[in-house]
């Protein structure tokens, strides 16, 4: 616990929040289990439904992000929902300022998405028999896509945590916000599967970087309204 006036740096406070969430996650494994199982189930459904068909790489790029999107939607809201459900949100509010919480939770969600990506990419390649022709393009799309997914939905998670009926609300609210990201990132993954290079994705890349920066900035500006509610 950091008392006011203590010399702990801002970054250390943020990481403390992330570390707390990681410890809590290792005890319950709720978010990671639901995200990974959701991704696995969706992947299996798609893989079995396609059966012996050999769909083109454009469709594969779209399917890859459909899996990642829905898997992320199944678990990313947990960071704030669990605080409200366990009744710990108030203590967290007292212990540090809102932005520290926001970035701590954002980094935790980003770690969740990284674990998800690391596990789902090899499975996708094995089960759906598609390999990125250009790994550099694929990975930069994946990294920027994950940052965008976590950056844009962390504030939505905080909003949803206040709702009495949660259900599919997180997905419903996140979709309009994530749509520009998904369109850009599917475009980049298409290029990666098709074997293009960085020249083909410059517009998409610019859009993606702009999106990530703008969404995190706007979230930072608005987060206190949600958190102090």
């Amino acid at each position: 616990m950091n008392l006011p006036g203590s010399s702990v740096s801002w970054a250390a406070k943020v990481l403390a929040v992330t570390r707390k969430d990681i410890t809590a996650e290792f005890r319950t494994r709720y978010a990671i289990n639901s995200i990974l199982m959701f991704a696995l189930v969706t992947l299996t459904v798609i893989s079995m439904a396609l059966g012996l068909m050999t769909p083109d790489s454009d469709l594969m790029a779209a399917l890859f992000w459909v899996i990642l999107f829905f898997a992320a939607m199944s678990g990313l809201a947990q960071v704030f929902i669990k605080e409200e459900e366990a009744g710990t949100a108030l203590i967290l509010k007292l212990s540090t300022e809102g932005l520290v919480i926001f970035f701590g939770k954002l980094i935790f969600n980003l770690l969740l998405l990284t674990v998800l990506s690391v596990l789902i990419v090899p499975l996708f390649i094995i089960l759906l028999k598609v390999t990125p022709q250009n790994w550099a393009v694929f990975l930069i799309g994946l990294v920027l896509g994950d940052i965008g997914l976590a950056g844009a939905t962390t504030i939505i998670a905080a909003i949803v945590a206040k709702a009495t009926v949660k259900g599919a609300l997180f997905t419903v609210l996140s979709f309009p916000i994530l749509l520009p990201l998904l369109m850009a990132v599917i475009d980049i993954t298409k290029v990666a599967f098709g074997g293009g290079n960085f020249g083909d994705i410059s517009t998409g890349l610019q859009l993606l970087v702009a999106y990530d920066v703008v969404m995190v900035t706007v979230s930072v500006m608005l987060f206190d309204f949600v958190w102090r509610q």
Binding site: A152, I155, I156, I159, K162, A163, T164, V165, K166, L169, V172, L173, F175, P176, I177, L179, P180, M183, T203, G204, L207, A210, Y211, V214, M215, V218, S219, L222, F225, V226, Q229
Partner: protein
């Protein structure tokens, strides 16, 4: 009272003019039946009002977060409700036009159809959140935050994506505004079109005012004016 009569008379005049004058179609570049193009006089103003309502709702949301005055929340919700109605109208009329000229009710490659569909989803999500929140103040604050987030996302979608994917558009933009943004419609078409735009905007303003008065009559906490 005179507002109501004026809008009724002006709307009737626009409808009569829209069907009594030659079609706004530009035969040099457009396909299909000329009469179908008369929907332009109604479809475009509806889409305009839907977008206007969305912007208004966002402005009221920002004002609410700044002042914490509940009357701005009421205004934001009313603008969003009306925007939803006009967005549905614009989607339906646009879809009919698409079927008559391009052969399909819906086409995902057409960026403006995608945009209006997203606008519908945004309004849907906004009301979904409102119905899931417990008390009036939480409802007002969180939906205001959401509406600002949606507006940022809409800027990306409505202004950036059509430029990224410009070659997909089948919209008959050349018959009204050419690629350089110059208005190319004839004087009669322009007169009817801009009258229709004004009448639809006035219709929106009138319904909005009536709804606001009703909301204030129900809720005594809101200021009278």
């Amino acid at each position: 009272m005179w507002w109501k009569i004026l809008i009724f008379a002006a709307m009737s005049a626009v409808i009569i003019a829209a069907f009594m004058t030659p079609s706004p179609m530009n035969p040099a570049i457009s396909l299909g039946d000329a009469d179908v193009y008369r929907i332009f006089y109604f479809h475009v103003p509806q889409a305009w009002v839907a977008a206007l309502a969305f912007v208004l709702s966002m402005i009221f949301s920002i004002k609410f977060l700044k002042t914490r005055d509940m009357q701005y929340d009421t205004k934001a919700v009313l603008a969003a409700k009306l925007g939803l109605v006009f967005a549905v109208l614009a989607t339906v009329t646009g879809s009919i036009f698409a079927k008559m000229t391009w052969g399909e009710f819906w086409n995902w490659a057409e960026i403006r159809e995608v945009s209006i569909f997203i606008l519908l989803i945004i309004y849907g999500a906004y009301f979904a959140l409102r119905s899931a929140l417990p008390n009036a103040e939480t409802k007002a604050t969180l939906s205001a935050v959401l509406s600002i987030l949606f507006a940022v996302s809409a800027v990306f979608l409505i202004f950036i994506l059509p430029r990224l994917y410009a070659d997909f558009s089948q919209h008959p933009s050349d018959s009204v505004v050419d690629r350089e943004g110059q208005i190319t419609m004839g004087a009669t078409v322009a007169a009817i079109f801009f009258s229709s735009l004004a009448v639809f905007t006035a219709l929106f303003a009138w319904i909005y005012n009536v709804s606001l008065r009703i909301a204030k009559a129900y809720d005594k906490n809101l200021p009278e004016n």
